[in-house]
């Protein structure tokens, strides 16, 4: 497979009336990688994926998928990509086989090839003994894998998955991601959106989206190296919520946030740990335990968002955080 990017996006924007859903986003996806698009609801993930599948015209900028322009060659594009929309995309009142026959035909498959690909999809979904079952009666995990199989019937080189594991239990979610790994190993490029940090950890590279902007793009380890070693700490203290308020006042603490019963905070230097412990105890929060932790993707995500919001609030139109992305952009597959 050539190294030309499978997806190439340049200054892509989409507005709905006055609302800018996607704001000058640029990135490239390499062949065979699992490319994660991480962001909260309304970050512009679905809008971007719909533009890349030729379902929504960009307002400005351009994007190519497999060398085809998404605005001009939408028809040719649809023959060569797979797409699994956010909403469940199978007919719940049809059986497993009927669904596959229909979606295969819609993608132009027929005869032996349709039969062979349907058998493959039934196999990866683990539905060999339930091919005549009406989809409505299948558990969520099976449905999700079947929907993925249906989106891959025509062997697309790239597949776009929009929050594919919504409403599925953790075990089914894990099996779904095992399937994504297998696909990528076999050379299929996977573009997947998620708002789950756990899922993002399984991607080769992750793009952080917030309010239509691309805040950062790198491998997960590289994103985590953004914080100098030892500066991300976990604080255990009684009355954590009150302690958080005290913590947030300290000038050398940034991105203090509550994670369950504990606090996470980012210090300007690792040496501040003792100072923090003493300070909180003086303020009446004894006993305090501060220990350095490996930052989670969520810590990184929170930092990028607060930086971005500070930049916006300061009236600067420069996309500061994007240039602050650390590490090599040549990360890629591990």
């Amino acid at each position: 497979m050539s190294d030309a990017p499978v997806v190439e996006v340049r200054e892509l924007s989409r507005s709905f009336g006055a609302f800018l859903a996607v704001d000058r986003v640029s990135f490239a996806v390499r062949p065979g990688e699992i490319f994660g698009f991480l962001g909260s609801n309304g970050a512009g993930k679905t809008t971007t994926i719909r533009m890349l599948c030729g379902l929504l015209a960009p307002s400005a900028g351009s994007a190519t998928v497999l060398g085809l322009d998404v605005a001009r060659d939408a028809d040719a594009l649809r023959r060569r990509i797979g797409y699994m929309s956010q909403r469940f995309s199978l007919y719940t009142d049809l059986t497993v086989e009927e669904n596959l026959r229909f979606w295969g035909s819609a993608y132009g498959l027929a005869g032996d090839r349709l039969a062979e690909r349907s058998a493959w999809a039934i196999d990866i979904a683990g539905l060999a003994d339930r091919r005549r079952t009406v989809v409505r009666e299948l558990p969520g995990g099976f449905r999700q894998r079947l929907a993925l199989g249906a989106a891959l019937l025509h062997l697309p080189a790239v597949v776009f998955l929009d929050e594919p594991t919504g409403g599925v239990d953790p075990e089914a979610r894990r099996r779904f991601w095992d399937l994504i790994d297998e696909l990528a190993d076999a050379g299929t490029t996977v573009f997947v959106t998620t708002h789950s940090m756990d899922e993002a950890e399984r991607c080769h590279r992750v793009a952080l989206m917030h309010s239509g902007r691309l805040l950062a793009l790198d491998t997960v380890p590289a994103l985590k190296r953004f914080f100098p070693a030892g500066t991300v700490v976990e604080v255990r203290a009684p009355r954590a919520a009150r302690a958080l308020a005290v913590l947030a006042e300290l000038p050398w603490v940034s991105d203090a946030a509550l994670f369950g019963e504990q606090l996470h905070a980012v210090l300007d230097r690792p040496e501040r740990r003792a100072e923090l412990e003493a300070g909180l105890e003086r303020a009446g929060f004894a006993p305090v335990a501060v220990r350095p932790i490996t930052p989670s993707l969520e810590d990184v995500f929170i930092r990028f968002i607060s930086d971005a919001e500070r930049t916006t609030a300061a009236g600067s139109s420069l996309p500061g955080p994007r240039s602050a992305v650390p590490g090599s952009r040549a990360g890629g597959r591990s």
């Binding site: 015209a57 909403r87 035909s105 993608y107 989106a151």
Partner: protein, 367 residues
């Protein structure tokens, strides 16, 4: 293209088969409606309260009165010798019509001189009055030849004979219109829901990500309902024949052709609504209103188009039932061939083509 269209049609049929409630409604509803409306909606007039005022008192005048009272249409409620009594009887509603035989009627007939009978009808209900008058003419026409045989020079009154529907049964006239009305409503609603359902379930987004073209999707969606519509049309015509004695005088083949053209237009209109509406509820109501009202009011089903104001008459040209009704009455009642109604068939074909084209354009643009 054909393969993908068929794939959509097969899928739609499979879904229809699982959804037995909808299938039953689509197949059975037209016939149930025909049954209800066929009996309820009738312009036939019977048991009209009639007064006879015989100023002549001859055997000829009694024969004329008998011709009226023996028909099922009229019930004799009063017999008088003074015309002035009629006013009060009409005012109180005791009578709805009166037959006045003028003095000298019998003599005139015997002498072969032109003569006349006076027929008075309560015109406050114009529809009924018109029907009663028509019945009266028929009765007079019936007795005229007999009278003429008695040595008269000609019939006493000039009477146009009613052809094709000699007993003026409104069912003959109304049932074809009713069939058109019912088919329009069911076909529009069936497809109006078909596309919008995909939008509501979220499968539309996935369909659009496939190479499936808009026209393939829409044709595939329409075909199964055309089949269902054809079956329920056949049922409706059979029912019309069995229950209301509406014969199909023309060729069944031509009837099928015209009906299919009409159905295609209705289905196309439903698809167009479906591409515009965002929920099944909106689609259902838009389909119901847009199919029902024009078909009922502007097609010539109940109100003759020729008596509408010019502005309304122009609007009737985009109501497909207008064309279907003319062709249907031509085929069913007159047994006429395509040379009489080809223009109506053409109009139906154009209508179907245009709405399907609009729906396709609309689906493509919504991208």
């Amino acid at each position: 293209m054909i393969r993908r269209t068929l794939a959509v049609a097969v899928k739609e049929l499979l879904q229809l088969r699982r959804d037995w409630r909808t299938s039953l409604a689509l197949l059975g509803m037209p016939m149930v409606l025909l049954l209800i409306y066929g009996f309820a909606l009738s312009f036939d007039v019977e048991h009209v309260r009639l007064a006879v005022v015989d100023l002549d008192g001859s055997s000829a005048s009694r024969a004329a009165a008998r011709a009226f009272t023996e028909s099922r249409t009229f019930d004799l409620v009063a017999f008088g010798r003074d015309v002035r009594e009629l006013d009060a009887a009409f005012d109180t509603g005791r009578i709805q019509a009166a037959l006045v035989v003028p003095a000298g009627y019998g003599d005139d007939l015997a002498a072969g001189r032109p003569t006349s009978l006076q027929f008075v009808v309560d015109g406050s209900d114009a529809q009924t009055a018109g029907t009663v008058l028509a019945y009266a003419r028929q009765i007079v026409a019936g007795i005229s030849p007999v009278i003429r045989e008695g040595g008269a020079a000609g019939p006493p009154v000039g009477v146009p004979l009613v052809w094709y529907n000699p007993d003026l049964a409104s069912s003959r006239f109304l049932v074809p219109g009713l069939v058109a009305f019912i088919l329009m409503v069911t076909s529009v609603i069936a497809t109006a829901l078909a596309v919008v359902r995909e939008k509501e379930r979220g499968t539309m987004e996935s369909l659009r990500a496939t190479p499936l073209a808009a026209i393939e999707l829409l044709l595939g969606k329409t075909l199964p309902y055309l089949l269902v519509g054809a079956v329920s049309s056949a049922g409706s015509f059979a029912l019309a024949w069995a229950l209301f004695g509406v014969p199909v005088r023309g060729s069944l083949l031509w009837l099928a052709v015209v009906t299919l053209l009409f159905l295609a237009g209705g289905l196309g209109w439903g698809v167009l609504i479906s591409t515009l509406a965002d929920s099944q509820q909106v689609a259902f109501q838009a389909g119901l209103i847009s199919a029902m009202l024009p078909t009922l009011l502007l097609s010539g089903f109940i109100f003759p188009i020729s008596s509408m104001p010019p502005a309304l008459r122009v609007i009737t040209h985009v109501v497909p039932a207008r064309y279907f009704l003319v062709a249907l009455r031509d085929i069913v009642l007159k047994g006429a061939g395509p040379e009489t109604w080809w223009l109506q068939a053409l109009a139906l074909a154009v209508y179907g083509g245009v709405v399907l084209l609009l729906a396709t354009a609309r689906t493509v643009r919504s991208l």
